[in-house]
Structure formats: structure tokens, C-alpha cells
């Protein structure tokens, strides 16, 4: 019990990540409305972004923008321990914009489906397909 509690305190970012992934995955599988599925996809994407960014954190360090604006000054050595890991930030920076782009394509497909069938509910669309 104490081990679980201490793991909750030192690893709570992963708990939030697991919770968000489960919410997003459930919405993707169980919801019948296509827009709700798209929202679920976005929640899962947000969970992955949180996971990456929280991995980059270091206790007692600052954002990865070097202190001296003259970065190539030799007499001021840069210590990696003073700055958080920039790599997850780079990966997520592009992932956020790409997730907006995929959201746009998903909404375009939803509009097309609505124009064709007049509904966004999966079971009603399936019933219309079965009838023909």
C-alpha cells in the first residue's frame, strides 16, 4: 500500500497520462457519434503530448533557452543539468500542429458523411447502408 502511495506521489504524471489515454480510447471505441469519436482521438493525442513533455522535465532546472545570449562564449560552459530536455518539446511542437491538421481532415470527412447520410450516428449510418 505504501509502495503504491509513494509511486503515486513520484510518478503522478503517468497516472494522469494513463487516465487520459483510457478516456480517449473509450470514447474512440464506445461512442457512436462521429464527432465524439474525434474528440476522443484528440484526448488521446493530448495524453501522448503530456507523456512526452513530462518525460523532459528535470527537477530544479529551467526552460531550454540558454542564459547567455552569446552562446558560443567559451568561458561560460553550459551545463546540461541546468536545462530541461529539449527533445520531447521539439517532438510535441510538431505533433500539436499535426494533430490540428488531422483534426481538420477528420472534421472534413465528418461533414462529407453528414452530407451523404444526414446523420453522424454510426448505427443509423449502418442501417442506411444495410437497406441498400
Amino acid at each position: 500500500m505504501e509502495a503504491i502511495l509513494s509511486s503515486f506521489l513520484t510518478k503522478y504524471n503517468y497516472w494522469v497520462f494513463i487516465g487520459l489515454v483510457m478516456i480517449g480510447l473509450y470514447a474512440l471505441i464506445a461512442k457512436r457519434n462521429l464527432v465524439k469519436k474525434i474528440i476522443g482521438m484528440n484526448i488521446a493525442q493530448t495524453a501522448v503530448i503530456l507523456f512526452y513533455v513530462s518525460i523532459g522535465a528535470k527537477q530544479g532546472s529551467t526552460i531550454p533557452i540558454l542564459d547567455s545570449s552569446h552562446g558560443h562564449d567559451a568561458h561560460h560552459a553550459v551545463q546540461a543539468i541546468d536545462y530541461i530536455n529539449p527533445l520531447p518539446h521539439v517532438l510535441m511542437l510538431t505533433a500539436i500542429v499535426v494533430s490540428v491538421a488531422t483534426l481538420g481532415v477528420a472534421l472534413a470527412l465528418a461533414i462529407k458523411v453528414y452530407q451523404q447520410y444526414g446523420t453522424l450516428e454510426e448505427d443509423e449510418i449502418q442501417a442506411q447502408i444495410d437497406k441498400t
Binding site: 513520484t10 473509450y26 523532459g56 528535470k58 540558454l66 529539449p86 510538431t94 491538421a101 481538420g104
Partner: protein, 276 residues
């Protein structure tokens, strides 16, 4: 279906929970992710590229190839949205609505009636048209240029502060979308045509890939900006810095254009009338 989904989700959650003890603690300075590659980037980034913002240095120089394809993904998302939704055939409805511009009088023309198409004094409007509020109109008109200026600052200052092409491009696109929401879509088309948006999104990706090809022609690797030094008249480190700025501008253009294109197509379902 719901029970099945719940079981699947619980199993995935259980698996992740089972692997939880293997993850490093939050904020652990010696976690595996922070000990292999990232110290090199932090210690060498500024010396290699003269960009104190390590995120920009990694994004545009060390991982430039990756970022180029991110830009290509965004570009193809804009294209996909265009091809899915854009319709050029105007559906002939029973009644058409036209507004007389000088007086604001709305004409309702039944089927078979003569439409004033081609006349300068009339403009076609949608049935859902509502007059826009003057306060919202004027406020957004005032805000938009400052948002655009800030977007340009974010793009240009990406070396020294949080920012860069992606963020600045999204901001610039948001400014145009704000204008489109506060006015209507047609008044945006008068300032930024659909063709121009398509052209800008392609030009953005072209600037990025073209910079890589120029480096290739000058004898370096693809996207190795230090070979631009002779062309720009600076040393290799500053050439990398300038190269990063060039491709950030390309990314900013592409992202801005794609955001606007997504909005144009989604808000009017591809008909490009007055929109929301």
C-alpha cells in the same frame, strides 16, 4: 459493445499500470531520456547554430529532415481537406437571396425569376445571413493587425525566445480566422483569395525543401546549412542560424496557409459562400 470497450480500455490501462514502476520518477535529472542525446544538444546547440533556444536549434537544424516532413504532412492535410469538401457547382435552390448594397434591402427571388447576377449593386447572400454587430466588427478590425505583428515577431524571434515557424504560423492563421469570424467569409476572400492561400502553402514547403536542395547543390548534405556560408557571406555558425530562419519562414507560411484553408473549407462545407 460498451462492455467490450470497457474491457479493452481497462486491459490497456492495466498494462500501462503494470509497466509504471519501470518509468523514471517525475523530474528525475538522470532519467534515460535526459542522459543520452539531450546533453549534447544543450551543450553544443548554441555553439553550432548560434541559437540560444535549443528547441529551435534541434527542430530546424539537427532534426530538420523530420520537420520538413511534418510540414509536408500539414500541407497534404490542407490538400486533403480541399479535395474532400470543395464544390464548385452551385446547387440551384428554389429561392435566392440578394442584397442591394447601397440600401441594404434584401431581394427574395423565387424559382424562375430573373436574378441580378453580374450586377455591381447586388450581392448574393445566404438564407442564414444575420447582420454583424458593429462593436465586434470594429474590435476585431483593431486587434487583427496587432495579432499579425505579434505572429511575425514570434516567427522572427524563434532563435532567442519560445517561438518559431509553427507557433507564429498558427498565430497568423488565427488572426485571419478571427477576421473571418467577425466579418463574413466573402470579405476575407476579397483580401486573401483561395488561390493565394493554396499558393502560399505550396511556397512554404518549397522554401523548406528548396533550402535543402541548395545545400545539396553547394556540396553539403541535405539541409546542412553551413554550406550556405559562401552564398550568405558569413561564417558556418551564422550560416546555420540564417538557414534556420529561412526554413522557419517557410514553415510559418505553410502552417498559416493550411490553417486558413482548413477554416475556409470547414466553415462553409466547401461552398465558399458567406460561411459561419
Amino acid at each position: 459493445m460498451r462492455a467490450l470497450a470497457l474491457i479493452t480500455v481497462l486491459m490497456v490501462g492495466g498494462l500501462l499500470f503494470y509497466g509504471l514502476p519501470d518509468f523514471p520518477d517525475w523530474g528525475d535529472p538522470v532519467s534515460p531520456a535526459s542522459t543520452h542525446l539531450s546533453p549534447f544538444y544543450i551543450e553544443q546547440g548554441a555553439a553550432d547554430t548560434h541559437a540560444p533556444n535549443v528547441v529551435t536549434a534541434v527542430l530546424a537544424y539537427y532534426r530538420g529532415y523530420d520537420t520538413m516532413f511534418e510540414a509536408a504532412v500539414i500541407f497534404s492535410a490542407g490538400l486533403a481537406c480541399f479535395f474532400l469538401l470543395r464544390t464548385f457547382q452551385q446547387k440551384s435552390e428554389e429561392t435566392r437571396l440578394y442584397r442591394h448594397i447601397p440600401t441594404g434591402v434584401t431581394l427574395r427571388i423565387e424559382e424562375g425569376g430573373k436574378t441580378p447576377a453580374g450586377s455591381e449593386e447586388f450581392e448574393p447572400i445566404d438564407s442564414h445571413w444575420v447582420p454583424y454587430d458593429m462593436i465586434i466588427n470594429m474590435t476585431c478590425r483593431l486587434i487583427v493587425p496587432f495579432v499579425q505583428l505579434f505572429a511575425l515577431y514570434v516567427i522572427a524571434h524563434g532563435h532567442y525566445s519560445p517561438g518559431g515557424g509553427f507557433q507564429g504560423g498558427v498565430l497568423f492563421g488565427a488572426a485571419i480566422i478571427l477576421f473571418a469570424i467577425s466579418h463574413d467569409l466573402r470579405s476575407v476572400f476579397r483580401r486573401l483569395q483561395e488561390k493565394a492561400v493554396m499558393f502560399l502553402s505550396a511556397v512554404g514547403v518549397l522554401i523548406y525543401a528548396g533550402t535543402g536542395v541548395v545545400c545539396l547543390v553547394l556540396g553539403g548534405n541535405f539541409l546542412d546549412y553551413s554550406f550556405l556560408a559562401g552564398m550568405l557571406g558569413v561564417d558556418a555558425v551564422m550560416a546555420r542560424s540564417h538557414g534556420i530562419l529561412i526554413i522557419e519562414i517557410g514553415v510559418g507560411l505553410a502552417v498559416m496557409a493550411v490553417m486558413v484553408m482548413l477554416y475556409y473549407n470547414l466553415s462553409s462545407a466547401g461552398r465558399h459562400d458567406e460561411g459561419l
